[in-house]
């Protein structure tokens, strides 16, 4: 049978954010610019990067995502995530290891409302005529620089983002929980290109020495109206998603 995640969630716990309960209002965010890059990563240590809730997808891959929101209730911000490809039961998901956000206000709201494992850093995205570049600098060091080269138009229907899930601690009961996010996207522009990873510091993304990018898969750049929806499901990080998932909103 498929293998399951082997992460020691208690050991990972210092990296997680604190969510203030599961009832939050959705955010409608217009004109988001999304750079989404997929890389295959080393298979062997991969299960250690996710709780037992998940099954590592075959082949192992990571999603490197940089998104700029020009407007939000917390003001404009840019967020970068590193996620690992997995399955919750039979559903494709990306387990977020770490997020960096460009403003303290946005980081605080994203953590409080959705439990993002967010820290503040210098996160930026720039679109040039021949490439789109996402970059994250933390403590003066570049910990991610990823590019999409050879920009080429495609249709929004050709894009399929997988929903993300992350570990956080619920302030109400102090328990660790896996929260599922199902953003909705309405694309106004979509491009595809060649991925190039210029700089990646796995340790800064909670990947330690287990997250080693090997082969590029794809890169896309889209402009979309996004809805960060209410939290609908949470999962127990000590149980398979089939057995440990609870609905928390209609």
């Amino acid at each position: 049978m498929p293998s399951s995640g082997t992460m020691d969630v208690e050991a990972f716990a210092p990296n997680v954010g604190e969510i203030h309960g599961y009832k939050t209002e959705e955010w409608k965010l217009k004109g988001a610019q999304i750079l989404n890059v997929l890389y295959e990563v080393s298979n062997e240590p991969f299960p250690g990067l996710m709780p037992v809730t998940f099954h590592p997808v075959i082949p192992a891959y990571a999603i490197l995502n940089v998104t700029h929101y020009p407007e939000s209730p917390a003001g404009p911000f840019t967020i970068a995530d590193v996620r690992v490809g997995c399955r919750a039961g039979v559903r494709p998901r990306g387990f977020t290891l770490k997020s960096y956000v460009s403003t303290a206000a946005a980081a605080q709201e994203l953590t409080r409302r959705w439990g993002y494992p967010a820290s503040v850093a210098d996160v930026s995205m720039r679109a040039f005529h021949d490439r789109v570049v996402g970059r994250v600098k933390a403590d003066g060091r570049t910990i991610l620089e990823v590019e999409m080269l050879d920009r080429d138009f495609i249709g929004g229907n050709d894009i399929q983002y997988v929903s993300s899930m992350h570990l956080c601690r619920n302030r109400e009961d102090g328990k660790l929980v896996v929260v599922q996010l199902d953003p909705e996207w309405t694309f106004t522009k979509a491009e595809r290109g060649r991925p190039q990873l210029v700089k990646f510091d796995a340790k800064a993304w909670n990947g330690g020495d287990k997250l080693v990018p090997t082969w590029p898969i794809s890169a896309s750049y889209t402009i979309a109206d996004a809805t960060l929806s209410q939290i609908r499901y949470v999962s127990d990080p000590d149980k398979d998603a089939f057995k440990g998932t609870t609905q928390v909103a209609a």
């Binding site: 049978m1 498929p2 997929l38 075959i58 039979v90 050709d158 979509a190």
Partner: protein, 370 residues
Amino acid sequence: MKFGIFYEISVPRPWDREAEKRVFDNCLEQVALADELGFDTVWAVEHHFLEEYSHCSAPEIFLTACAMRTKKMRVGHGIVVCVPEFNHPIKIAERTATLDIISGGRLEVGTGRSATWNELGGFRANPDETKKTWDEFVRCLPKMWTQERFSYQGRSWSMPERAIIPKPYQKPHPPMWVAVTSPGTEIDAAERGLGSLGLTFGSVKEQEEKIKNYRRIISTCEPVGEFVNDKVSTVNFLFCHEDTERGNKIGRRMLGTFNFLAAQLLAAREAYPTKSYPSLGLLPTLRREASGPADQAGVPEGIAIGDPERVLRACKRWEAVGVDRINFLLNALETVPQEDVLNSLRTFAKHVMPHFQDSSTQAAAAGGGR
């Protein structure tokens, strides 16, 4: 209506020295029995790198063994991945012709293009190109089989004039099929005069519309081969047991295992944004069927699992919407013990097959139960 069996050949971990041999041996034993019982065709997929899910990366060799163990059963090489990084078209023509000779003219050739990143990425194939190369391959294959010498200047491949040998035993050539999973591929199949293999997505009503559309288009097609194959074949699951509760229970376990296993793979569309893959492909399609709305027994609509009466009803539903053949998956990860698989085949042959008129299986089915 004709019935066949369909192999992915899934092998559970741990992959010790005997594990894979045991699964292949079980499959070959099932094939031999199915031949005796009057099943029409054994199909074997071509998949690569799909851990546990399918270890059938050299189906032509497995099918050669099947041909050697059977007398009447046809052997379905399908689908052959028509992407140059996987298979050179000359090699496809050569090995299919050889298999047709070895089997005494019992070969069916299924064509397709792969739908997982596991495979496309593993062979470094460009997902944007696979539909185009498939089209070139299916137009070339009949000519390579039938022309004494063949030359070609094409988009994805070319060759100077050579005799591609041997030639198939069947004249003019073996029947050709295409795996129909992406929306619109049934039109591609019909326009080219190819049989539709695995047209199984959507509700029965939706299916009926697609089959009608396929039949309408194929009636005026320009076939790529020397003749039109206008048959519609589907993939289903089979576990048939006279004890209703046991039939449902074991069958559901097989479905659940398949569902779970297939889900861990990476569909091309999930990994690589492209117009070339508007749907997720066969695996998620089968998965969706395996987890569709269930009846009181917890078995999804149209799935051939349960007691003979229920299995008969499922098969009749497909027949009623125009399906000509049903090919059954018999196991997943060896969750069904071999003796139960064999008994399921016997029970199906004894109680279900005789209810289908014009089935070549009928005569054998009458003596199918042991």
